[in-house]
């Protein structure tokens, strides 16, 4: 059985590998601890032992040192984990130098709002395309560094794309930029992972990852449509 859902981002496998690494350490430690806990129950059962030994484990005594060494080993494996996970954390939180596409994703009650920058590539101009409806789709090209400016309109939301392993809270009044580089085409859920009110459950949109040609085609028609409606309104 696959424990994780399919990973579709460049850094997603990092999380999965990290899981197995920590599991190796924690699992070993768990098995040892279980042994420490259960073995004496059989060996030192009151039917087998005449009298318990008088061990106080005071400071500096031999048995105390034994426990101290065990703690030290525990501490060392802790730091190995910390060391190993740091690069994964960096991969998620440090933006790459090259920005290929950028979107604004805004959480509101109860859907995600997607903003495309328009042809000029700048947000806040007249040709921005804003899509604000439940279950709408955000189109993203494959194998590109896609940047997401995450915002929230009313309450705290959390941008969660399961298959990329990325989750980030969206805080009202703040803009937090995260990035994803998709490695596989398809349609993926965006859900909200922070309780945001009565329809928290229904807050779901999609990310559609397409090949570059398809994406260019989509963006072209989107912008043309936008220009047309803008023209009509004038």
């Amino acid at each position: 059985m696959n424990i994780f859902p399919e990973s579709v981002s460049t850094y997603g496998s990092g999380i999965d590998n990290l899981f197995w690494l920590i599991l190796a350490f924690a699992g070993t430690a768990f098995v040892i601890s279980l042994f420490l806990l259960l073995y004496p129950l059989f060996k030192n059962h009151h039917t087998r032992v005449k009298r318990a030994s008088y061990i106080t484990g005071s400071l500096g005594k031999f048995h105390f040192k034994l426990v101290a060494v065990a703690m030290l080993i525990m501490a060392m494996s802790d730091f190995i984990i910390l060391f190993a996970e740091h690069s994964t954390w960096e991969a998620f939180t440090t933006l790459p130098k090259q920005k290929d596409v950028e979107y604004i994703v805004t959480g509101r009650q109860w859907n995600w709002i997607f903003t495309y920058p328009g042809r000029d590539g700048v947000f806040g101009t007249a040709d921005d395309v804003v899509i604000d409806e439940p279950n709408s789709e955000l189109h993203v090209p494959i194998n590109k560094n896609a940047f997401f400016q995450l915002k929230a309109k009313d309450v705290v939301h959390s941008f969660f794309v399961v298959n990329t392993r990325l989750k980030q809270d969206c805080i009202p009044g703040r803009t937090i930029t995260r990035w994803i580089n998709f490695t596989k085409e398809g349609k993926y859920d965006i859900s909200c992972a922070e309780i945001c009110g009565i329809a928290h459950t229904k807050m779901r949109n999609f990310i559609v990852v397409e090949s570059n040609e398809k994406y260019d085609h989509f963006i072209d028609s989107l912008y043309n449509q936008q220009a047309a409606t803008a023209g009509n309104q004038q």
């Binding site: 424990i3 994780f4 859902p5 999380i15 990290l18 920590i22 924690a26 601890s33 279980l34 420490l36 806990l37 004496p40 129950l41 030192n44 059962h45 009151h46 032992v49 009298r51 318990a52 008088y54 061990i55 106080t56 484990g57 005071s58 400071l59 034994l66 426990v67 703690m71 525990m74 501490a75 802790d78 984990i81 910390l82 996970e85 954390w89 960096e90 998620f92 939180t93 440090t94 009313d154 309450v155 705290v156 969660f160 298959n163 392993r165 990325l166 989750k167 809270d169 805080i171 009202p172 009044g173 703040r174 859900s191 309780i195 945001c196 009110g197 009565i198 928290h200 229904k202 779901r204």
Partner: protein, 537 residues
Amino acid sequence: MITGLFMALVGGFLAYVFRYNLAFPGESIPLFGQLSAGQYNQFITNHGLIMVFWVGMPLLVGAFGNFLIPIMIGADDMAFPKLNMLSYWFFLTSAIVLMISFFVPGGAFAGGWTMYPPLSVNGYTDPSPSFLSAIFYGSSLMIIAVALEFTAILMGGINYLVTTINKRAPGMTPFRIPLAVWYIDIATVIFMFSVGPLVAGAFMLLFDITLGSGFYDPARGGDPVLFQHLFWFFGHPEVYVLLLPTLGVLGEIIPVFSRKPLFGYKPLIVLSLISAVLSVVVWAHHQFIAGIDPRMATFFSVATILISIPFSGIFLSLMATLWGGKIKITVPMSWALGMIGLFLVGGFTGLFLGSNAFDIYAHDTYFIVAHFHYTLFPSVFFGFFAAFYYWFPKFTGKELNKALGYIHFWLTFIFFNGVFFVLFFNGLGGQHRRIYNYEMFSNVAIEPYITFEKIATISAICLILSQVIFLWNFIVSWAAGRKAEKNPWQANTLEWVADSPPPHGNFHTAPKVYRGAYEYSVPKASEDFLPQNLQAD
């Protein structure tokens, strides 16, 4: 204590209702009926609040603190008995206020037990609330209830500390005090130092709701994350407030049934003090993905992983007490061992979450839910039951039914694992929390996750039903149980010197203390235990 147990039943009922809903979405729930999304949010929120504040704290810190602290240090009563009563009435009032909040227009508070603003301030039912809209009642009542409850615990805490410092029996030097008393007191100190900022934060939240101030409103220069910091500054130490009393109880039970001194008594106290200090600098690991500075996150990740070291020491010492002992498995002992076993799972899964990178994925999923239930359930319920079965003879002068005790233990143990072990997998599968209906999410609305949901729900129902055995045993044994001996477990600490149940004033003549609490199997001694009050030959 009875109030605490009653609240546990309420909390359990809420859990039953929403778990049923998760396994069988949309179906009518026996004993309840149809659950709406709004009610679902109310129920998960109040399940969390009740279980932590109205069950965990009163059962362990409240009930056992009041009973054990005076009698274990050889005092006749608490330092301020009137304050104690007042504290109880505050607690009762707070519980009633919280219950009332279910019945006001708009229902109880539904913004998650973490109460993150702006959701808690405006609009978890209606995006544009007016001053007198329903929201106002539920959340205000909730905050008032929490405030009353904190006041109650603070009053109790003042009492505990003063009692321990001032009312000890002659000869009860600081390092002869049993570990249970030490740990309850340390928990109280942690509580007192961490709760202040949350009270301040709750004030601001209350005024944001009622008077229209903007402490957490970004449009007015406030910052929602501020509340998260204030909340978790208290919230993480709170976990240790719940855990430490249980560890103290274990520190009594395990030596008694191993007939062996507690391993490393002084180191255990030092370790718990270290973890108490560390506990107030780890809070932001609840906020790795809340947009805090990545470097800060790294700091908190290191601190979090560091705190596992003193706790590993504490658990190793408890297990080391078993080695070389003469172990007798009894009902309280099985609860104590079960607590260690389950908490190990909770503790080691904490390693995953403490590493900030994995937390990006696991945060707010069922992985976290399973993790904190594996830590809190053993520390609250297993700790409570261990203490209950251990001290019941002293408490009432009656014996509990052993067979029923074992059945209760094994059923609770098995079904608890049945609920939460499968949820680890659901969490890793990306199922996020506090979702009313999973059918629309493609990644979790597939097998095996649906089956896992059902296993969890059925186990949860069985888990709650198993507690009937406990209640039955409790009531029947109290009313018609066999008379218990004065010191049925042959333990050393002072409470076993008193009559069962202890009369008013606890002791007929004030006991004198000649030694530490854990002198078991002392070489050359005739018995394998040496009570603290026994004069040396």
